[in-house]
Symmetry: C2
């Protein structure tokens, strides 16, 4: 996987026919919902997420299946970055865990220092509805090498590959993206969480860590 990240950065330019009219650093929608598959090679961990994302209020709701060490878990997580708190919710048992965490909100965006690498069509433009135009960007931020692909129209994420010493290789594929939030209540914990006491976190779990930019 490290090879892929490095080669996306190094080799994709070989195919790119780039003229002076580079794509701009587009701005992704601040309110989005979608699905996400994340593969963390170091832990051989795969996650399938449904997520709701609010960059205004800095909050994320995740409903995910995590497959690691031949086990599959379900998690329902509400991350509130302004409060520095996350909830792990079980509707089945009407139970809730409320934990503090440290780290900044990590927006879904093309990093400011990212370099444009190539414009690609996923599928084809040979007929209507058969493809989507996307731009590949890459760079290095906080010792993390990344390769990020976003749609040309709408500036929506498609795939982000990352490589770092600390976490190893992470591949995130986004799909079923919708601009906006269907139900704003998704960012509030259910009533049975109200009486739960806050506990100190001993560090973020792997399934939440990818959303959090660790403070230096």
């Amino acid at each position: 996987m490290k090879t892929i990240v490095l080669l996306c950065i190094g080799l994709s330019g070989l195919f790119a026919i780039i003229d002076a009219q580079f794509p701009h650093h587009c701005k992704s929608p601040p309110l989005m919902e979608g699905r996400l598959m994340v593969y963390v090679t170091k832990d051989n961990l795969v996650m399938f997420d449904r997520f709701s994302y609010d960059a205004f209020e800095r909050r994320i709701r995740l409903r995910e299946f995590i497959h690691v060490q031949n086990q599959t878990y379900h998690e329902d997580i509400l991350l509130l970055f302004r409060e520095g708190v996350y909830y792990s919710i079980s509707y089945l048992n009407s139970t809730c865990v409320k934990k503090s965490f440290k780290g900044d909100f990590r927006p879904i965006e093309i990093p400011k220092d990212a370099k444009f690498q190539a414009q690609v069509v996923i599928g084809s433009l040979s007929e209507p509805g058969a493809g989507v135009l996307a731009n590949n960007w890459n760079g290095k931020e906080d010792n993390v090498l990344y390769s990020a692909t976003f749609t040309e129209f709408g500036c929506l994420p498609i795939m982000v590959l990352e490589n770092s010493e600390a976490i190893g290789d992470v591949m995130a594929s986004y799909f079923d993206m919708v601009v906006g939030i269907e139900d704003p209540d998704t960012f509030f914990p259910p009533s049975f969480c109200e009486s739960v006491e806050l506990t100190e976190s001993d560090g973020l779990d792997p399934f939440t860590a990818i959303w959090v930019k660790q403070s230096n």
Copy 2:
């Protein structure tokens, strides 16, 4: 990677809202050109290909960069399945290697026994041009587990993941697909190949093997 292939098969259904109107086994165009990134985990081999594909005449032209064992190679390959011959061409040196090979043409298609798993949007349908509708299919053929994603309109390949004992895990991402062939001459070897004698192949190289279905 094996985990991903298996989970694509096992878990993506959890997100699929499937009604009775299943997508049909669409037929991919017989003439296509495009680009392809292939990652073969067993050999830690990454290929970036430009390819032309002719399912009528069963021939494929590949121009590729191969990264393996910290080395990068360029290859220009013409595979002629009807003749059971492939050419390895170097325009730089005006040299050519002509080799025989065994194996059937492996069409780009959704396998007949593939099961529909989920319909997804890559990007978003929230605005025009921001996404493409695709279908995920999976199954097992000749002891190879696969997960294949093709566009709903046009039936063009987007991604194929495979896992087998023999080859390990192979991830193929297609992009910049065009229906048709820009220059039909691409399927003819250059003139300096005419006088080259045929040699017996001692087995296909990894960069051609993915296009060939081995005979049982």
